[in-house]
Symmetry: C2
Subunit: 259 residues, 2 copies
Amino acid sequence: MREKKSKPLILITNDDGISAPGIRKLIRIMKDLGDVVVVAPDSPQSGKGHAITIDATLYVRKIQGMGDGVSEYECSGTPADCVKLGIKEVLKRKPDLCVSGINHGSNASINVIYSGTMSAAIEAGIEGVPSIGFSLLDYDWEANFEGLESYVKKIARNVLDNGLPDGIVLNVNFPKITDIPYNGMKIVRQARANWNEKFDKRTNPMGKEYYWLTGEFENLDGGEDTDEFVLAENYVSVVPVQFDLTAHHFLQTLKSWEL
Amino acid sequence: MREKKSKPLILITNDDGISAPGIRKLIRIMKDLGDVVVVAPDSPQSGKGHAITIDATLYVRKIQGMGDGVSEYECSGTPADCVKLGIKEVLKRKPDLCVSGINHGSNASINVIYSGTMSAAIEAGIEGVPSIGFSLLDYDWEANFEGLESYVKKIARNVLDNGLPDGIVLNVNFPKITDIPYNGMKIVRQARANWNEKFDKRTNPMGKEYYWLTGEFENLDGGEDTDEFVLAENYVSVVPVQFDLTAHHFLQTLKSWEL
């Protein structure tokens, strides 16, 4: 175990790419809490889910960094690849904490399933590293991140102090920042939601039809204890996320089937 | 609701690509149960997790098929894209069942997280379609699929008859086929496991270092009620999988933190 007095080692990654304003903000916040090493994708990886690169080569390159005075590596792979390479090849040991983000856009409710940000956090959790994904409900590249610093620090300090149980990571979402400060933070569950896809069908210059995936978000959950509900009320949402996907409550019913 | 007497509409996809022997086998099995439409990736998508294509174009092309006498479409996207496009653009309605696979390789235990096969099944579940992912513990392209037909049919018939609760899909894994018939089928939970990555570091002809991701599977779970355990005992494993990732059992503890 690391001695209490030594600075914790913190691995930072994201899915928007190493140059995204969200990860730069997270780096500057986390520098106050420990020794920071960044291993992040060299290009945007949004929507990559828990993809890993098994049929192609992976590059990792130490870069100059962007003036934040921390060690930085860019990687050709997915967010999950970054965590694997970060732990095994760059750090060569488990960090005390892994933080992913700050994502430009929501990872609340069903978005957690598609999220590269959360997949990086989950990958760290699988490897036994306490881990948090942070996301801001603002898809703008020039999003305003001023106002969430104290929440990020409080959550990260708590995880450094308390650890997290095996198999659990945290999914933290911040409402879009406005003139009105957040109302506080709420521990909630993932809302049942869905994207109602609309495919935008077009014809390319060669006459071939193609599609763009777009969609409308549908919150199917009437509960007031969900991430979607509290985010709409201007609270920061914290959902404990597990990667044991077993629907334990359905095991008994399934055993009664004639299989 | 569809009338009981009409044939069910079954959407088939996979992650190994539309020409993989595993999906061809699944098509031939499912033809006995209903009207089959195939929408599958035009190239292998293993390890793609729940990736979706949001920053690139998507192509879907009706193809001649491969002699199995069903409607077939190949798609340039991921397994999850195939399901979205299959429901919204190809079928233009929800099918009665979605089946994904048969994957060449295990999607038991932690593999479910990285699996394109299971992500397709989960995507269908998110859209409210009863759904099953099938995988064979044999990574060989020329894997032997003879011997699992009756299990696939029994499970699919049960899902068609009983439906599945909202938010739950099935993850079915088959032991590698040998001369010894399967011992039967067991309803189990996902084993706690991890891939202990080993990065194979090489130098390319231009002198630049790169990596291949490889690893050794570690079953960290001593339980006898897990997929890994029963698969090793030559049973077919069935795990009900949910996409509500909330660690409900940790909510109360987390609320006691000083957040």
